[in-house]
């Protein structure tokens, strides 16, 4: 079976939203990251983003991508397994 849709997000992301038509994966990614990383990294909102908050957000973005890739691979494996069992 071809590598399927489970390729790492990194390559898609770089090419500017991988031909997604109406569903732009880059845009969705940005929205989710903003939501998740705001929750994880910003405590009481101050007058500006301080250094530690910025560092946290940067790490958070990377971890979110890692998570996305992990989920993508796991889902792809599961799909392949299901197909093999049919």
């Amino acid at each position: 079976m071809e590598s399927g849709f489970g390729s790492d997000f990194g390559s898609d992301f770089g090419s500017g939203g991988g031909g997604g038509g109406k569903l732009d994966p880059g845009l969705i990614m940005e929205q989710r990251m903003t939501d998740k990383c705001f929750r994880k990294c910003i405590g009481k909102p101050g007058g500006a983003l301080d250094n530690s908050e910025q560092k946290c957000i940067a790490m958070c973005m990377d971890r979110y991508m890692d998570a996305w890739n992990t989920v993508s691979r796991a889902y792809n494996s599961r799909l392949q397994r299901e197909r093999a069992n049919m």
């Binding site: 969705i28 989710r32 994880k40 971890r63 998570a67 996305w68 889902y75």
Partner: protein, 94 residues
């Protein structure tokens, strides 16, 4: 040249039809990955660190499997529930 022979999108061109199918599947796949990543992030991630540690990674993998198990469980049980009740809507009509 005609729309009659094709079913839905792609019309008479099987290659185009196939392409549309594949692209649709890809989209569905991506949507689910987005959804699961979001859900599993809440369950598996504490404070973002410099790396995705192996515990978190395992958690994400388990999370995907359990999510799909849940989805299948619900589908199966709904199917059974509707089979055993002769008419599902009867119980709702009052």
């Amino acid at each position: 040249m005609d729309a009659a022979s094709g079913a839905g999108l792609g019309g008479a061109d099987p290659q185009l039809q196939r392409f549309i199918e594949v692209e649709t599947q890809k989209q569905r796949f991506q949507q689910l990955v987005h959804q699961m990543t979001e859900l599993c992030w809440e369950k598996c991630m504490d404070k973002p660190g410099p790396k995705l540690d192996s515990r978190a990674e395992t958690c994400f993998m388990n999370c995907v499997e359990r999510f799909i198990d849940t989805s299948q469980f619900i589908l199966n049980r709904l199917e059974q529930t509707q089979k055993s009740k002769s008419s599902f809507s009867e119980s709702l009509s009052d």
